[in-house]
Amino acid sequence: MREASVIAPRSLREALRAVGRKGVVAVAGGTDLLVRLHDVAAGERPSFLVLDGVRTLHSIAPRGKGLALGPLVTFSEIERSSLLRTLAPQLVEAASVAGSVQIRNRATLGGNIANGSPAGDLLPPLYVLSARLELSYSGGRRQVMIEDFFKGPGETVLRRNELITRVVFERSQNRGFFLRLAVRRALAISKVSVAANVSLRNGRVQSVRIALGAVAPTVLRASRTEEYLLGRELDRDSIETACGLASGEAAPIDDIRSEADYRREMVGVLLGRGLLRIASAR
């Protein structure tokens, strides 16, 4: 039985040289990849490009008014970062409800993005924080906005010879949340999730971004809902209308985890919960 080979670079340059090679798959935390490979015979497995040893990909640092995170930052590191708690509470909420302790200790930001699942819990927060991804290859790098990165479930614009090397986003406005529903609280993939980034001024919505997870082929911005909320006070009527609009913007399907009708309705319920929380916190 042939065991697949492993490349374990110590520097980004080495990693970028190896990533384009035939039959090589980059591994960050491995918590999704190794599950997918569980039933694949050893001889059929790809070679692993194990990124753990590339130090520069693990950092959390302020950049301008926002933040720059390395793709190997784990969910647990996000959960425990006091900097992120202040600057990106939505991301912290999402990181702390996903998986289990064991999974969060290994699962990474970059892995969650590269997987391209519409149910990836860190993605709606990254959408509402206007995240920008730095994609590097051995000859250079390019920047892609998170909304332009995903093409469909599991499909992204990441090329075979590229790695996500930095995730940059602005700091959150003064109000934000991430809420999700799953079959149980731990170790379950989201049936539906909602993230928001809101600023209020004199009781009115000055800016708002809302993203919906697991209700379309990719994470979705609820732009009509955002437009409606702009300039309004958050009261019972405006929240109810916003929830109805957001439900209408979702384009969910029936699948093993949930049903389209339920998902559509829960988009409204979760958005309502989050907006009420914001309204009553004033």
Partner: protein
């Protein structure tokens, strides 16, 4: 490749491909069969080990990912013949039935108590959500964690 890492406080060097799962390395190469494989997919937590003190699933970990790092398995928790307070508490409260989940649950509980010496029930549930037990219904496990917490804090006060 030559893998250098620490297992249960012992510096260890093994010749590996780097693509093996850590659970296979522990069980088959090092004979540490206290680590159990349940689902092999990160859902049951029976394969939990501590990586630099933090619980991880050894079924989702490649040998090349633990180079230079420290692994603690259930065999490394006790000191000689004397049980770790969490192990003693599991035995005392009857938190062990078939026993398959026990090594993972004991390690997750030990990591929790190292981090939060007196956790609430809510904190326990969160910390142990990645370890499934199909026998006990969890009540006796939570009682064991509470007992271990009390004993460990008493011991700490006594030593001061």
């Amino acid at each position: 490749m030559k893998l250098k890492f620490t297992v249960n406080r012992r510096a260890t060097t093994l010749e590996v491909t780097g693509a093996e799962r850590v659970i296979d390395l522990l069980r088959e190469r090092l004979g540490l069969v206290g680590t159990k494989e349940g689902c092999g997919k990160g859902e049951c937590g029976a394969c939990t080990v501590l990586l630099d003190g933090s619980p991880v699933c050894s079924c989702l970990l490649l040998s090349s990912q633990v180079a230079g790092r420290e692994i603690t398995t259930i065999e490394g928790l006790s000191e000689g013949e004397s049980l770790h307070p969490v192990q003693a508490a599991f035995a005392e409260t009857g938190a062990v039935q078939c026993g398959f989940c026990t090594p993972g649950l004991v390690l997750s509980s030990a990591a929790l108590l190292a981090d939060i010496p007196a956790p609430s029930r809510e904190q326990m549930k969160r910390a142990l959500a990645g370890n499934l037990c199909r026998c006990t219904g969890y009540q006796k496990i939570f009682e064991a964690v509470e007992l271990a917490s009390r004993n460990m804090r008493r011991e700490k006060r006594r030593r001061r």
